[in-house]
């Protein structure tokens, strides 16, 4: 039963990932990733990772991916025409990738082939997670606040509209390289 | 004065550095020149302390000063002098004064930087000759490289950039090779201390396999051979000499080239005698090629500075032959010839530079009959050329004679042949130098531009007369100089003396073909 569940959602996840690659429009790719995440959430549940399964849905699929979709919509990003140049990358990249995949799968299979994971053998509930977070993992938990501050600052620095554009910079630069600076005008 | 003996070497080496600090504090080109002169002269005077307090009976190092510098790497500040480095140091300080004097008027652009670099160069050169720690030696060796490249590249002539970069990269490549060898040696012995390494290698405390010894020998040798420059490594020299300002040429020919033979005597022979013997024949052949090739190329040079540069290649060949025939007389002659070459070739560059200051060309065709407009100049010219040719009573004769005798009586195979070929070099030198003298000094004053040339001024007379006096003094008072180096050279070649006359005779009578012999020694491990 567990194997059937695993296989169903594994197939779903892989299908979602492949769809992500096939789709041309970024919005479909983003939605495919959401599908992958939902499938993975189920896999997490099968593995007894209750807490992770829930935040996978709520935070990852719910919040982060919504941000993606939102940005795609705001930027009105459309399809990008395939250029012949990137095919060159495919010739080099695909064999390398295939080799890598075979290697990794082979390794993990060789190392862990015998281990069986049973349903419900080990359940991680929210309580122990919280306990662990505030004892053993207190430091990383606190430090992630710095990470978020950096994130906030980054968004402010890069994306916020400025009160006033640096006038002299643009004036001088325009004389030298007009087209590169055109975007700075707004 | 005894208390000075412990620190005198450091004073000599670092006085120019103090001069740099002083130069940074003064303003105005005139003041800069004076300060530079004062400090080089002071260094010269201080360095004169050395020969007067040097015990000529001792073959070991004197004036030793030892401080721990980087204990984590067993690096010491270890300086000292023996007969080998003594006169070269004095030569350096002397030529530095000359270098400042000849740049008095010719350097007008960025004067302060010029003299700072000149003083830095002096410190580097002095450091090379007195360092007894391999790391310290390498440091000073590289320190000479940078200012010289700048002197050529900034104050040089038309193709100065090419010459400076070529000089830098050539010598840098050689010195990196040497660095690799120094590190390897450190790896094998655990110390950078030259005296310890030498004693350890001699006593068998450190054992190098024949291959290791050969590789180390070659690593050091190539670095030094580039500096000498030995025949196939010489291509940087004409460019550097021709493009360098006069002071740069003087110091390059006078001192920097001496760092090569110095290094060979100090490191190649003292540390790796077996490998030195193994390779000596090849090196001597290269030296002979250098003598003949340098002389022939010098003969056909229309450019006077190139002529002097190629004459250096030729003259340095003598020194190499003397070093690698391992006789005491020859080694004495090599050291003496290093000094002679420094004085006389330095003098030739000064002479060429003085003409250039007046006419702004090195082309021999532009000159002729200078004796009529500049008689004093012509007098000095002839004197210094004669010294370079090796006229008896002048210094060059003593050195060349000792080298010939040393080579001829050497125990190595084919010594006679070497001596005879080398002797032809003297004839070649006479040929191209006299040819040059005839074309420039004598003859008709055909070029109208030359008719208005000014005679030497007092400063120039001072420079040339001090060089001229030195050639005479060194020609007449050679025993005083050679006394100081005798003990050192005796110790230096002691390793190479054959154990008994019989073996030497045996070797001389039946020499197998050179190539076969070298190959056989390589395979059997370099033993005799």
């Amino acid at each position: 039963m567990q194997l059937t569940l695993f296989l169903i959602f594994a197939v779903l996840a892989v299908a979602g990932a492949i769809n992500l690659l096939i789709q041309r429009h970024p919005i479909y790719s983003a939605l495919s990733l959401v599908a992958v995440m939902f499938a993975l959430a189920v896999e997490y549940l099968i593995l007894g990772a209750e807490f992770i399964a829930f935040i996978q849905v709520i935070v990852y699929a719910g919040a982060i991916m919504v941000l993606f979709v939102f940005v795609i919509m705001v930027l009105n990003a459309g399809e990008v025409a395939p250029a012949p140049k990137s095919r060159v990358a495919a010739w080099i990249g695909l064999p390398v990738l295939a080799l890598f995949a075979i290697l990794v799968i082979g390794q993990v299979y060789g190392a862990f082939g015998a281990t069986q994971l049973g349903l419900g053998e080990y359940l991680v509930q929210t309580g122990p997670v919280g306990n662990s977070l505030f004892h053993d993992f207190l430091l990383p938990f606190e430090v992630t606040s710095v990470l978020f501050l950096v994130g906030v600052l980054g968004a402010v620095v890069l994306a916020a509209r400025q009160d006033k554009a640096p006038k002299p910079a643009i004036a001088q630069a325009e004389a030298e390289e007009p087209k590169a600076m055109a975007a700075g005008q707004r | 004065m005894n208390f000075l003996n412990h620190t005198i070497v450091s004073w000599t080496v670092f006085l120019p550095l103090i001069g740099i600090v002083a130069l940074l504090c003064v303003r105005g080109d005139a003041a800069v020149r004076k300060v530079a002169l004062v400090f080089t002269a002071l260094t010269f005077l201080v360095s004169l302390h050395l020969p007067f307090h040097f015990y000529s009976t001792s073959g070991g190092f004197q004036f030793i000063q030892r401080h721990s510098w980087i204990p984590a790497f067993h690096i010491q500040y270890l300086v000292g002098m023996d007969g080998l480095s003594l006169w070269l140091s004095v030569l350096t300080t002397f030529l530095s004064v000359i270098g400042v004097l000849v740049s008095w008027k010719s350097v007008q652009k960025n004067t302060k930087a010029f003299f700072i670099l000149l003083l830095l160069l002096e410190t580097g050169m002095l450091g090379v000759f007195c360092s007894l720690d391999l790391f310290l030696f390498y440091t000073f060796w590289e320190v000479t490289l940078v200012p010289m490249a700048f002197l050529i590249g900034i104050w040089g002539h038309e193709r100065r950039l090419y010459a400076a970069v070529k000089f830098f990269l050539y010598t840098m490549a050689g010195s990196l090779l040497m660095l690799g060898c120094i590190l390897w040696l450190y790896n094998l012995t655990g110390t950078f201390d030259f005296t310890v390494i030498k004693a350890g290698l001699a006593s068998g405390a450190f054992v190098l396999s024949p291959t290791t010894e050969l590789v180390l020998f070659l690593g050091f040798f190539i670095a030094f051979a580039i500096k000498v420059p030995l025949f196939p490594f010489h291509t940087w020299l004409p460019d550097a000499h021709v493009e360098a300002p006069t002071a740069g040429s003087v110091l390059l020919a006078g001192v920097l080239l001496k760092m090569g033979p110095y290094g060979m005597l100090r490191f190649n022979l003292e540390l790796f005698p077996r490998a030195a013997q193994l390779c000596s024949e090849w090196i001597v052949i290269l030296g002979l090629i250098g003598i003949v090739y340098g002389a022939l190329v010098a003969f056909v040079q229309p450019n006077m500075k190139k002529l002097v540069a190629y004459s250096s290649v030729s003259h340095m060949g003598f020194i190499i032959i003397a070093i690698f025939t391992f006789s005491q007389i020859g080694t004495q002659g090599a050291i003496y010839q290093m000094l002679n070459h420094g004085v006389s070739t330095g003098g030739l560059f000064v002479l060429v530079g003085m003409l250039y200051e007046r006419r702004h060309t090195f082309d021999m065709k532009e000159y002729g009959g200078m004796a009529t407009v500049m008689p004093i100049y012509a007098g000095f010219f002839v004197l210094i050329v004669m010294s370079s040719v090796g006229l008896p009573l002048l210094n060059g004769f003593v050195g060349e004679f000792l080298i010939m005798v040393g080579t001829f009586t050497s125990a190595v195979a084919h010594a006679h042949v070497y001596a005879i070929i080398a002797a032809t070099g003297v004839i070649w030198a006479a040929l191209y130098l006299l040819h040059w003298t005839r074309n420039t000094i004598w003859g008709e004053l055909s070029n109208a531009k030359n008719k208005v040339l000014k005679e030497l001024d007092r400063r120039e007379i001072l420079v040339l007369s001090s060089i001229g006096a030195l050639t005479l003094f060194m020609g007449l008072a050679s025993p005083w100089f050679l006394n100081k180096t005798a003990a050192t050279t005796a110790a230096n070649v002691a390793v190479f003396q054959p154990a008994s006359p019989a073996t030497a005779a045996q070797r001389r009578t039946a020499p197998p073909p050179l190539v076969a012999r070298t190959a056989a020694r390589l395979t059997t491990g370099g033993g005799q």
């Binding site: 992500l20 990772a49 281990t115 994971l117 | -």
Partner: protein, 100 residues
């Protein structure tokens, strides 16, 4: 019962598909999404190991990966917006201002 290696294989497949997306997709946002896919693949490996080892650590690790992914997404999307403002394109192949 499911062998651990099945989970790991799934994780590796997802990771490799992410790598493929990173290499072959031309749209910047999709490239970024591919990186998220790689992270998801890694997360699965963590959870599977966590279960196999009977340890909570792997779960916590996944939690932090998600946190990091969130911060990365915020900054990454800000960068994409800034690029879009300057260049008006999201094509990776158009990012050629900096080339030899």
């Amino acid at each position: 019962m499911v062998p651990l290696s099945y989970y790991l294989a799934l994780s590796a497949i997802l990771f490799c598909l992410g790598v493929a997306g990173f290499i072959f997709k031309q749209d910047i946002i999709t490239v970024f999404i591919s990186i998220e896919l790689m992270l998801n693949g890694v997360n699965l490996a963590f959870v599977a190991f966590s279960h196999a080892l009977r340890q909570i650590d792997g779960n916590i690790f996944v939690f932090f990966v998600m946190v990091v992914a969130a911060a990365e997404a915020a900054v990454g999307l800000a960068i994409i917006i800034a690029v879009m403002r300057n260049r008006n394109t999201l094509d990776v192949d158009q990012m050629t201002k900096l080339r030899d």
